[in-house]
């Protein structure tokens, strides 16, 4: 089964990337590297790729560092800990598509929540999702909100493995709180960070659900991501050959992440 739905399609993707999809039942035509040549000239592809890289380079560090902070806070035995944990984690369980609906309202021009706050503070209106400058960042904010709580769980698990006596020892030595976290806790969390990093990378290239509700990749492809573009090319324009070529690019990025993963696994063996 895995063969049928992972390996076979992956290989087939490679093969069909050399074809031009036949229109209206006609057989597909072999076009050699034509799709690849088109890829290089496709301005939208480069834009989408750039968007995806921006998306990745914002969501990954932001969600990871927030996750770490959340885990510290939740692990500190504060009052209402259960509620804190709950509110951080809930976004993870909700369907992205449902969540996007709610955020859509936040971003709505004129009477959306963000706008109301801005107007209250005396700023002029901004069309958050309608402007090429802000659309991508709005999408990023939703992704970070969704992911941080999920990664928090892994950090929490790791934090609970650290014996409190380490903190006591550091305190006796007169180390500051900041120093203790920076030199003791965060290094101890390294294996978790690597694991989360790989997951975050894969997520950054896979997460597109919210685009369907929020921006549909627009305006003018300003917020489109690679997988969304694949969807558009293959299922709106029915150019499956080119879609396959694009999928290969995506697989390349996921492959990179997996190389990283195996590197991580190697390292972890050394830790034990």
């Amino acid at each position: 089964m895995i063969m049928a739905f992972t390996h076979y399609p992956a290989i087939n993707t490679f093969i069909s990337s050399f074809f031009l999809a036949g229109k209206g039942g006609a057989a597909s035509e072999f076009v050699g590297l034509e799709n690849y040549r088109f890829l290089l000239e496709d301005k939208i592809f480069w834009k989408v790729l750039k968007n995806n890289l921006i998306f990745a380079s914002c969501t990954i560090p932001l969600s990871i560092s927030l996750a770490m902070v959340m885990a510290f806070l939740v692990n500190a035995g504060l009052p209402g800990q259960a509620w804190l944990r709950l509110s951080y984690f809930v976004p993870t369980v909700l369907p992205m598509i449902a969540v996007a609906n709610i955020w859509l309202f936040f971003y709505t021009p004129e009477y959306g929540l963000l706008e109301q706050v801005r107007r209250f503070l005396g700023f002029s209106g901004v069309n958050w999702l309608g402007s090429e400058k802000t659309a991508l960042y709005c999408v990023i904010a939703v992704a970070v909100w969704k992911d941080a709580g999920f990664f928090m769980i892994f950090y929490l698990a790791a934090l609970q493995q650290i014996p409190p006596s380490l903190g006591e020892a550091a305190m006796l030595e007169g180390a500051s709180r900041f120093y203790y976290y920076r030199r003791v806790v965060i290094p101890l969390l390294m294996p978790t960070t690597l694991f989360v990093l790989v997951n975050a990378t894969i997520n950054a290239f896979r997460m597109v659900d919210h685009l369907f509700v929020l921006t549909q990749g627009g305006p003018n492809n300003a917020s489109s991501l690679l997988l969304y573009y694949i969807y558009e090319v293959s299922f709106k324009f029915w150019d499956t050959g080119y879609g396959a070529t694009l999928t290969l690019v995506l697989l390349l990025f996921l492959g990179l992440a997996s190389v990283l993963q195996f590197g991580v696994l190697e390292k972890r063996v050394h830790y034990r």
Binding site: A76, F105, I153, F154, G167, F212
Partner: protein
């Protein structure tokens, strides 16, 4: 409760508490907002009054505006079908990988693990064509099929089965139990907590999955909730936020409720899922 490290005591706590609650508020704001809007009549969507009258009217309207009942049935069917097949397939595969030696075992296992990186949602173009070829487009089966052999499940269960001592196996064999009997009476009960964890992850993943179902389905007969919700909220309804939030809450409601009930297990299962 476990011991707290000394850096988390004292004055720093006040700062921590403030930070923690600010963040929590920020994180739950969208959901709180959705709940507020869904339970009040539309004129309060952008106008907050503490004692505004509660109403269920939005839910009634949303329910009537789209075939949500059908969507619910589809989703529940989908999630159950995937889970059952996944459990059977993964158990068998994991057992084979854990307890038997066969040719190319290492290579085969590596091939299985590849799926952890390249998930079926990425290969939408090819998988769509496969579904077209076997002629099951637009059915619940076609949504579930690519996910049924789950590398993650195989991996998780293999780890569990490997830790079962060989003696138990032998003892059961001496008693005259067949391979499948041993699997069913010895291994499966021992893996109960892993099964629960895996089930929770699988259910929430497939309840929420969107892109692939969107592509393979195009009629009410097979659409799951997520796709139904999107179709519902993107048709021009004159953007009635109250109704959309009500529909949104309905869609995620059962999962949310399940999460609140099984909170501990949920969090633990995600933790376990992470420890690979």
């Amino acid at each position: 409760m476990n011991a707290v490290n000394p850096y988390d005591r004292g004055q720093a706590r006040i700062l921590d508490v403030t930070a923690a609650w600010t963040l929590a508020l920020l994180w739950s704001l969208p959901l709180l907002y959705a709940i507020w809007t869904a339970f009040h009549s539309p004129e309060y969507s952008t106008n907050f009054k503490l004692f505004a009258p509660l109403s269920l009217e939005n839910f009634v309207k949303a329910w009537a505006a789209a075939p949500f009942a059908k969507y619910f049935v589809n989703t529940v069917l989908l999630v159950t079908m995937i889970l059952v097949v996944q459990l059977v397939l993964c158990t068998l595969a994991a057992y084979a990988f854990a307890k038997y030696d066969f040719r190319l075992k290492g290579v085969m296992f590596a091939l299985v693990l590849m799926q952890l990186m390249i998930m079926p949602d990425v290969l939408i173009v090819e998988n769509y064509q496969t579904m077209g070829k076997i002629g099951i487009l637009d059915s619940t089966l076609s949504i579930g099929l690519p996910y049924m052999a789950s590398a993650f499940g195989i991996f998780l269960l293999r780890q569990t089965f490997k830790s079962v001592p060989k003696e138990l196996d032998d003892a059961a064999a001496v008693e005259g139990a067949g391979v499948l009997q041993i699997l069913w009476h010895v291994y499966v009960p021992l893996g109960r907590s892993v099964y629960l964890a895996y089930a929770l992850v699988s259910i929430s993943y497939h309840w929420n999955n969107f892109l692939w179902p969107l592509i393979v389905t195009n009629t009410v007969n097979s659409r799951p909730l997520t796709v139904g919700l999107q179709v519902f909220s993107s048709t021009e309804q004159g953007v009635d936020w109250a109704i959309i939030t009500a529909a949104t809450l309905m869609t995620s409601g059962p999962l949310l409720l399940g999460f609140l009930l099984f909170q501990r297990q949920f969090v633990q299962s995600f933790m376990r899922a992470g420890i690979k």
